[in-house]
Amino acid sequence: MDYSDDPEVAAFRAGLRAWLRDHLDEHRDATGYESAESVERTLRWHRALAAAGYVGLSLPAAYGGHGLPDLYEAVLNDELATAGAPPPPPIGHIAHAVADFASEELKSRVLPGLLRCTEVWCQGFSEPGAGSDLASLTTTAAPDGDRFVVDGQKIWTSGAMWSRWCLLLARTERDQPRHRGLSMLVVDMESPGVDRREIVLASGSREFAEVFFDGVEVPAANLVGERGQGWRIAMHMLSYERGPADMGWVGRLGRVLAAARDDVRSGRVPADGPLRRRLAAASVDLRVLQWHVARSLADRDPGGSAGSVDKLLTTRIEQNLHHVVGDLAGPSFVLGDPAPYGDYLWSRAQSIYGGTQQIQRQIVAQRVLRLPRG
């Protein structure tokens, strides 16, 4: 049992910290894909990371990656979060899907640009009619000679308004049941027939969009893996960067907690005994979550259901944390700067997106605990 960094990891971490000291300040405003300006700032941040060698850490060197163990991705996420830096480019799972399943030709065509962060990518999985039930997708990609013709609608597509490319999960096999009929395609978002509609969230965030496909032609060479393999690739993707991204998310929650603690310690925010106690309990939760994510990373069962345990734990702790932080803020929770209320609203989405809390519990019950299906 050893929780300390190996020398190589420690050196990597130190190098990253030094780099952040020098470069972070000019990129603090890389706030994601919400407007043309913020996209530009965000891509600039991603390209700076890529140029410094921090993108594609766990991808093969042959395609522009660095061939390091997954742990390095976790360290990257952890350090960025702890430093209050914007997140790394959200492309690791897409890159892994391509690197692990696509043809050599497609890999050489796609991966280098992806890892240099020249363009925005998005991931077209969710659909309006499907919710947590991914196997019931209805968007079709009908094979037609050397191309597929895509028709249907995706929703909750992060960054879609600004994306050049979409990794799309669509139904290619009419006669196969549910998840066996799905395939994965790389779709050029500038193709005729692609239409996008921004989704504004309750928090005011404009990160998501709906994407409509109407007779969109996709070259057969853009198929990732085999026909009918889409579900397997999707599951592989969802499990892949779970751990490292969790580490980053936990780091971000840690900053929320630290800010609240500083406010109380300094007297900027008045907090009575009961509130302090709740803050202490939230800090216990968060510390345990950090240890848990670290163990999860080491002990990971790729493609397994341990991710559901981690997500349930994270959600429980995050939602409680935001209740405590909101109560600490007192009237400022509802008055003035709307950002904290937006963060709270986003904490409510944690128990919904990527499979609701109820579905996650059922996955744990049936796949981990081997309880019988109802």
Binding site: S126, A130, G131, S132, D133, S136, I155, W156, I199, V200, L201, A202, G204, R206, D272, P274, L275, D327, G330, P331, F333, V334, L335, G336, D337, P338, Y341, L345, R348, A349, S351, I352, Y353, T356, Q357, Q358, R361, Q362, G374
Partner: protein, 339 residues
């Protein structure tokens, strides 16, 4: 013992619901925060409110009112919450009740009762109660001309609304003194307690309406939306959430009824104690029920275009106004502060 609404009260509930729904239909949350209607009603809507007598009914006869009981006002407030009505009815009613308790001139109160003069209550900067001095905020002040701080005898002009989580109500800073109100007399402790109890009971009713609306919409969604080949609401895990929401809503209704009855029936301090308990309980429950509703809605509930966040925001706003559960439980806890 007669713990139910009379036939008249049930009829009043129905008429309140109709007008509330109409008012709500004229307010639009738009496609995003940039696009939402302000919570100030247009002239037509506000005159409908005045014509319905909502602003007058609670006042004493000599002030142009009908001396309605707090239970009737609770019925009204629940409907305003249920339909998330953006017109500042509660703010006006509470401001008038406070001014009446300070012996404000009939002429002023009559103007308020008729909807001609629009007032908002001035609350402490943390919204937990009536303002004792300046540097305070006017609550539910959309379209209001003044907020009165009776302890100073001054009506203040109002600034632009500050950002407020609840899109259906406006909170505005007090501006310059606009006029003085002479001859106000501080109410005795009994009356002051009763006035606070009254304000709290209205907010409890608003919270009750809000949570009932969120629950009803979640039930509708659960009955019709299918996942994994069956209605969402047929899954036991979802049923457990909705049943809990129903329990919280019914318990809040019980608290709401008692607190409203107590306003006119019990000594002021007792009424205030009951109102604190009800406000603490309904504040906590309304947030839980609205959060549960969003959970049942799934992703769609997180969008601006879906109504779910409007209820959650209104619940948080009404929870903060006149004190949330922590505020009131802290007061209640002082009763145990022995040695």
């Amino acid at each position: 013992m007669e713990i139910e609404l009379t036939a008249e009260q049930r009829a009043f509930r129905e008429s309140c619901g109709k007008l509330a729904a109409h008012l709500a239909s004229r307010w639009h949350r738009g496609r995003g925060p940039h696009d939402v209607d302000p919570p100030a009603p247009d002239e037509t809507s506000w005159s409908r409110v005045a014509e319905a007598g909502w602003l007058a009914m609670r006042l004493r006869e000599e002030n142009g009112g009908a001396e309605a009981g707090a239970v009737d006002m609770m019925i009204l407030a629940e409907q305003l919450g249920y339909h998330a009505v953006a017109a500042p009815v509660l703010g006006t009613v509470i401001a008038a009740e406070q001014l009446q308790s300070w012996g404000a001139p009939s002429a002023l109160l009559e103007e308020v009762a008729e909807g001609a003069r629009r007032l908002a209550p001035a609350l402490a900067p943390d919204l937990t109660g009536f303002a004792g001095a300046t540097r305070s905020l006017a609550w539910d002040a959309a379209g209001a001309e003044f907020a009165v701080v009776p302890a100073e005898g001054i009506a203040y002009a109002l600034g632009e609304p500050v950002p407020f989580a609840d899109q259906t109500r406006a909170v505005r800073p007090l501006g310059e003194p606009a006029r003085t109100l002479a001859g106000l007399t501080p109410p005795d402790g009994e009356t002051a307690a009763r006035t606070s109890a009254f304000a709290l009971s209205l907010l409890v009713a608003d919270l009750l309406g809000t949570m009932q609306a969120a629950l009803d919409a979640a039930l509708d969604h659960a009955r019709t939306r299918a996942q994994f080949g069956a209605p969402v609401g047929s899954f036991q895990a979802v049923q457990q959430i909705l049943a809990d929401s129903h329990v919280l809503t019914e318990a809040s209704r019980s608290a709401c009824w008692y607190a409203a009855w107590a306003v006119d029936a019990l000594p002021g301090e007792e009424a205030l104690r009951a109102a604190r308990v009800a406000k603490a309980y309904a504040s906590r429950s309304a947030v839980e029920v609205c959060e549960n509703a969003i959970q049942v809605f799934g992703g769609i509930g997180m969008t601006w275009e879906a109504p779910a966040h409007i209820w959650l925001r209104r619940a948080h706003g009404a929870r903060a106004a006149f004190g949330d559960e922590h505020h009131h439980e802290a007061v209640i806890a002082t009763e145990f502060s022995g040695s």
